[in-house]
Amino acid sequence: MTEIFVLAEHRQGQIRDITFEMLTKGRELAEKTNSDLTAVLLGKEVKEQAKALSEYAKKVLLVEDAKLENFNSEAYQKVLASLIKKHKPLLTMIGHTSFGVDLAPSLATALKLPLGTDCIDLGFEEKTLFITRQMYGGKVNVKATVRKSEGYIVTVRQAAFEAQKPAANGEVVEEPFPLTEEITKKRFIEYVLPPPGGIDITAADVLVGVGRGIKDESNMPVVEELAKSLGGVLACSRPIVDKGWLSNDRQVGSSGKTVKPKAYIALGISGAFQHVLGMKNSDLIIAVNKDPNAPIFSFSDYGVVEDLFKIVPPLKSKIYELRGRKA
């Protein structure tokens, strides 16, 4: 029986959500392709995690070694390549995370297996693997076919699938650490936590999020004043931090914070997936963007297709008016 591999992603002892999301999708694909679902766990002293995973898969392949304690794409690639060569899974699913993008492309190249990255959906049709992914910052989706092969590798976008817990009771199978050679090219040193202090945007009731549409640093007071009028806090999408206009404690999204304010006002933010992931569960989302097809409108309660500079000044005045004081 053929297998579908899901590589478990864990960090500092915690299995990351993407693992359960992939296991949920992997289960569906395994049923459709008459395959077994196997979670692959590489680590050091992770038997407890293996047990947790066994509730989601038919089998957990566990490889333990001190070299696998922290993620290291060189060590992971070698071990995973050896497991894939041995078990010949139809499909290997890896998270499209910082770990996954460091691992999957070189693994696929080494094994000469085709790779589809950042998949938001996938499935087999007549033994051909179809993937759905986004292009142009989420402005279009594409359905694509992956070159026909004995086995495939995909990386799966975070939060593309909702994790569900099945009533599985899988077995944990330990595999010996397959490497005799040393890991010489790459070395993990340490994790660096974001600096303490700064502003906590996750605690705010009202967030005014600003994106590329602000155009220039000199325009920042326009949105700062709006946030102030609302008694809210200014947040932003990635480009604003990259340009150094706001510090990274203000960044909303996959590489920043996940927020759930009572109101999120998105100004000049197109709504790339990385940003949306961090704010889509806000109670109320109002987006202002010049592009009527901006993806942000697909996640908002209210949308305004207009230049933010035309909307923000009168909006600030209206808010002060409602509050009964002058701007």
Partner: protein, 298 residues
Amino acid sequence: MSELENKVSKDYMELGKNRRKTNNAKQKSVLRRKESLDIIVCVKHVPETAEAEIKIGATGKAIEKTGLVFDINEWDDYALEEAVRFKEKLGGTVTAITVGLEDADGTLRKCLARGADKAIRVTDAKFEGSDSYAIARILHSVVKGLHFDLVLTGALAGDDGYTMVGPILAEMLGVSHATMVKKIELGNGVAKANRELEGGLEEIIEVKLPAVLTVQTGINEPRYVSILGIRKAMKKEIETLSLADTNLSENDVGEAGSWIKIEQMFVPPVEKQAEFIKGNPEEIATKIAEIIKSRGLI
């Protein structure tokens, strides 16, 4: 010699020890030139779409490109800046390479104006339909013949977002790699890099040189290029290579050499349809303020 100079000098002496020996002729020239750092930057010429309204073209497999402004891929722009900064600090060369049609020269001119010494465009009608795997293979066919200590490129491209060219190229070259890099320090034959993880966390790793590093946006502040710089760059030659200049066959490139084939492009399904507020700015502002007030937030 100051302490700092001493350290830098020692650092690239160490770098030199780990040089990739590609061919003897190159190696000799490096020895003659003494120790310095050779960096290759892989860049892509892409349409700017973050702020633009885009439409799906007649084939249903690509976007309508007319009317869009093309420029260097944003991630590659940071990679280029990082390369030029290392050159300024440690000496050496920066070579920019792209796989693209003639219009990609615009991006290569920008690289030259920014401080790249050499620009190469690999171009062939047969490359049409290449995905990131085929592009990486084309880049590999050129890069493997050059001397390098470091290859820098963007973590991903803003158009297709595959996020794979760098590590595939590294694997083909048989060198180490690190992706999503936010900080790089070079010395003692290694690159120490901060990789961006999720939720504001980073990890510090060390890879042996030569290596391929893919750069995340925000790693530096790309400088503006002066008009004079661009004028000067117009005079520099851009080397062009075609499929015949590589060791690749038609089957290695284009759709035949790719992993992924786009079948259909479509507008993303709507998760939550926004109610559009219409009117003049004053009316819109009034409506928004009322909505916020109705939630008890004013």
